[in-house]
């Protein structure tokens, strides 16, 4: 069992063919610092400065900055297992999803695999084509569904569109999910992963998008912390989570479930949640239940969110900590 703190964060990069996924991967590899493993569909397109390449064995390229790049090749599972079984664990894993695939279907790996945690799902959209692609008779449904569960959209190639085109591209993405955070990018003007971070430790920040027209498209976030002694009833928890407002984007932490020994690691992204046993008991968690939520700026008040989760407790909640109001 892996303690939550040691779990490897996973970033999934989705987006339709030609959106710029490989350009972003090249950028991440060139600017990488941590021991990052990047899994890509097509090695041929990866274009890293030769001086950065320490070794290259056909399946795996090792860079001098500590990153590796692996070709998914014939088996995603085999490639992923190779990365997970590395003698020294990687500090971060980035997975490029297939251009016609649903990035969420890959992201679920980080919810299921105990050694991993899901950091974020980034979908890249080609700003010059997204309006046409999203409405295309043959691929529109595929393109649109890629945005269903992503955390952030990189609206790419904005240097190829004029102001009207950019507005139309933004509208096409926002039409799918109005609350979606959009960062405008172009070749040579791409953010680092840290700049896109939406982890629970961060509260209220903005990304300065490298937009050419200088407009500010940063997004506001708010967080909420829930602490209780006691335990949840599993069925009641499922009901309570279903009632959570859509502004709550993710909820993570540890809790106790009635009828089960030990703590349980809890993760929820959008409305999809998972629990897994946490066997690390040498860490003092304080309260039995500690969950941290991140939502959009209009996340309802903490008291209202508390009340929803309180319905899932099997004993009367003993207030051990005054929940603080949402920060922005």
């Amino acid at each position: 069992m892996t303690p939550a703190s040691a779990k490897i964060p996973v970033t999934v990069i989705g987006g339709f063919l030609g959106a710029g996924k490989t350009t972003f991967v090249n950028h991440l590899l060139a600017t990488g610092t941590a021991r990052t493993a990047v899994l890509v569909n097509d090695f041929g397109e990866v274009n890293v400065d030769m001086s950065l390449i320490a070794s290259h064995d056909g399946d795996t390229m090792t860079l001098t900055n500590g990153c590796i790049c692996c070709s998914i090749g014939t088996s995603f599972i085999d490639t992923m297992c190779r990365v997970l079984d590395a003698p020294v664990p990687y500090e971060r894993i980035v997975i490029e999803a297939s251009g016609v695939g649903d990035p969420w279907k890959i992201a679920e790996i980080a919810l299921i695999e105990p050694a991993l945690r899901l950091d974020q799902v980034i979908v890249i959209a080609d700003g010059s084509r997204i309006v046409q692609l999203a409405g295309d008779a043959r691929v529109g449904d595929t393109v649109r569904s890629q945005f269903d569960r992503c955390d952030i959209v990189l609206l790419n190639k904005i240097d190829l569109v004029d102001a009207d085109g950019l507005a139309a591209a933004r509208a096409a993405v926002q039409g799918l999910r109005p609350e979606l955070r959009i960062v405008e990018t172009a070749r040579g003007a791409m953010p680092a992963l840290a700049q896109l971070e939406t982890g629970p430790s961060l509260s209220g920040f903005r990304v300065d998008s490298p937009s050419l027209d200088g407009t500010d498209h940063g997004a506001q976030f708010s967080s909420w912390c829930y602490r209780r002694d006691g335990a949840f009833d599993r069925a009641a928890l499922a009901d309570a989570l279903a009632d959570m407002p859509p502004q709550l984007l993710r909820l993570k932490g540890s809790c106790r479930l009635s009828g089960q020994d030990g703590r349980t690691i809890f993760q929820m992204v959008e409305k999809v949640w998972s629990v897994s046993p946490d066997t690390v008991d040498d860490i003092d968690h304080g309260s039995d239940i500690v969950l941290v939520g991140v939502g959009t700026a209009d996340l309802p008040a903490a008291a209202m969110l508390d009340a929803i989760l309180d319905r899932a407790l099997v004993v009367e909640p003993v207030l051990s900590f005054t929940p603080y109001p949402a920060e922005t």
Binding site: F16, L17, G18, D42, G44, G73, T74, S75, F76, I77, D78, M80, C81, L84, G99, V100, W104, K105, I106, E108, I109, L111, I112, E113, P114, R138, V139, D141, T142, R234, A235, A238, L257, T264, V272, W273, S274, V275, S276, P277
Partner: protein
């Protein structure tokens, strides 16, 4: 006749050669056919007469144009499908038609395993064949609570596992994730779908049974299944052709008694076109009379019964969302063009009619850019094509290999759920292909459905579902003669091997199926039940094993 000539006498020889359709004798030398005819015509000189088949009926050995080497691997595990199948040893393995029967079959297999807590795998389950009932972890707990029990669905995309497995994989509590289906108690039901759940399963169990290297024993088991079913030329229609596989195929097919001609298709998904073309140039050096490299497989969409095939309007009959593209629509023309220019024959998987239309668009563009006579690009499955799409195939020189076994196995689901009455009636439209003149074959996609060309022919002739419903029988059914052509010369044509196999005529390989009955005079409703004695491959008789 020159020395070394053997003349086989038979009750009847159905040659599939229209210029001499029937004979009683066939002369064979050096593994090839010298001539067909009568005793008077052929028993001359020092030709040696073989009367071993004097009471049997010979046909060209069957050609299975779409099956997979997986068929040779599956039989190491117990089979828990609803319909009867025959093993490579020739054993009739009866179907198990309800949950209790499945559990009983698994218990029997479990009892034979050593007490080592090793996993028990089984295959062939399809809930659509047992009234939609899913195996739950509780059902599989009746088999064992001490070792992992894993049932692989007929589709190969879903696994059902017992509670012990879920606990080991830490998935019992991981509900509300799309790939970990939850049960009525809020815990995982035991049904695992998709890549993430499969990866967790393999990691928890410490192995990935789907990435193991194939062995010569697997290939020989595949060849044994072929012999049992009268098949003398068989495909392996989607293979990454790793160095290891290429070596196993080379070694297996050059063994003197190897029992089938093998036609592997290189999987496009694992290679860029220029890599694939270079690899084919390399592996072609391994070609021998029982190993034929050169074709490439493209997979455009998913399956109809899995709701992953791409359909044109009006879409799925039950309103399900449209399926998945496995190759992006704008990518396909580029791939088709690259292989077309390199002179390679393509086998393009398209189940839904939107995928079929896209594939035809791509071939049309490639043909317009570079007209190539006799390319014979072949659509595989192509289950939903209408007459207009068949006319385009005809005009573009495209062949088709239709999935006739679907009529029986999933015809009821297609009628009720996926396509509705009108489109289900022209499911795998063999009659339309025949009328319009598109060269066609019919296939099993084994191990998805059983390897058994006579059964496949029976499906195309009778067009009846497992529930007893007839689907377009008056309009789309083949005659027995047409169906027999589809599993011999028709399939050989789609593989560009019709100059070597698929009919009994001078110069071709002496590959025969030896039948106990004449399929042309038997009741067409009994076509699938005609007993197969075995095969002759390159003039060498092999009696099918019977266990």
């Amino acid at each position: 006749m020159a020395s070394g000539t053997v003349v086989f006498a038979a009750r009847k020889i159905i040659t599939m050669n229209p210029s001499r359709p029937f004979a009683t004798h066939v002369a064979v030398r050096e593994g090839r056919i010298v001539a067909t005819g009568t005793a008077e015509e052929l028993c001359v000189g020092d030709a040696q007469l073989d009367t071993g088949f004097a009471d049997k009926v010979l046909m060209p050995g069957f050609v299975e144009g779409h099956s997979h080497i997986m068929e040779g691997l599956m039989w190491l595990m117990p089979y828990v499908g609803a319909f009867d199948r025959r093993s490579p040893e020739g054993r009739l393995v009866t179907g198990v038609g309800d949950i209790d029967a499945i559990v009983a079959r698994l218990k029997e297999a479990e009892a034979q395993l050593p007490d080592d807590r090793a996993a028990l795998y089984a295959w062939g389950f399809d809930p659509l064949h047992i009234s939609g009932r899913m195996l739950s972890r509780h059902d599989l707990d009746r088999v064992s609570t001490k070792r992992p029990v894993i049932v692989v669905h007929a589709s190969f995309h879903i696994n059902n596992v017992n509670t012990h497995t879920l606990e080991r994989a830490e998935l019992l509590h991981a509900t509300n994730i799309s790939g970990v289906v939850s049960g009525p108690d809020g815990l995982a039901s035991g049904e695992l779908q998709g890549i993430p759940a499969r990866m967790r399963l393999f990691r928890a169990l410490g192995n990935n049974p789907q990435s193991g290297d194939i062995t010569e024993a697997d290939v020989n088991r595949y060849a044994a299944s072929a012999c049992v079913q009268g098949v003398t030329t068989i495909t392996d229609l989607h293979n990454d052709l790793t160095d290891q596989t290429v070596e196993v195929y080379r070694s297996a097919t050059t063994a003197p008694d190897f029992g089938v001609r093998l036609v592997p298709a290189l999987a496009s998904a694992s290679h860029k076109p220029e890599q694939a073309i270079a690899k084919l140039d390399m592996v072609r050096e391994h070609c021998n009379d029982k190993l034929h490299y050169g074709i490439v497989k493209l997979v455009v969409d998913g399956s109809i019964q899995g709701f992953t095939a791409r359909l044109r309007w009006p879409g799925y009959h039950n309103g399900a969302a449209n399926g998945l593209w496995y190759i992006a629509p704008e990518e396909l023309p580029r791939l088709v063009d690259a292989y077309h220019r390199a002179g390679i024959q393509l086998h393009i998987h398209t189940n839904g009619d939107e995928a079929t239309e896209l594939a035809l668009d791509a071939v049309e563009a490639a043909q317009t850019a570079l007209p190539r006579p006799d390319h014979r690009h072949t659509l595989q499955h192509c289950q939903m094509a209408d007459a207009a799409l068949f006319r385009r195939m005809k005009n573009l020189g495209v062949c088709v290999n239709l999935f006739a076994n679907h009529l029986y196995y999933w015809g009821d689901s297609h009628y009720a759920l996926t396509m509705g009455p009108e489109r289900a009636a022209r499911l795998d439209a063999t009659g339309t292909a025949q009328r319009i003149g598109v060269p066609f074959a019919i296939h099993s996609d084994a191990p998805v459905t059983p390897l058994a060309p006579l059964f496949t022919a029976w499906c195309a002739v009778n067009r009846v579902t497992s529930g007893g419903r007839e689907l377009g029988r008056d309009t789309e059914a083949l005659t027995v003669e047409q169906a027999l052509a589809a599993i011999t010369i028709g399939a050989a044509y789609t593989l560009k091997l019709d100059h070597l196999v698929g009919s009994i005529e001078a110069g071709k390989y002496a590959d025969f199926v030896v039948l106990e009955e004449d399929p042309l005079t038997a009741d067409p409703r009994r076509l699938k039940d005609i007993a197969i004695w075995g095969t002759v491959l390159g003039g060498k008789a092999r009696k099918a094993p019977r266990a």
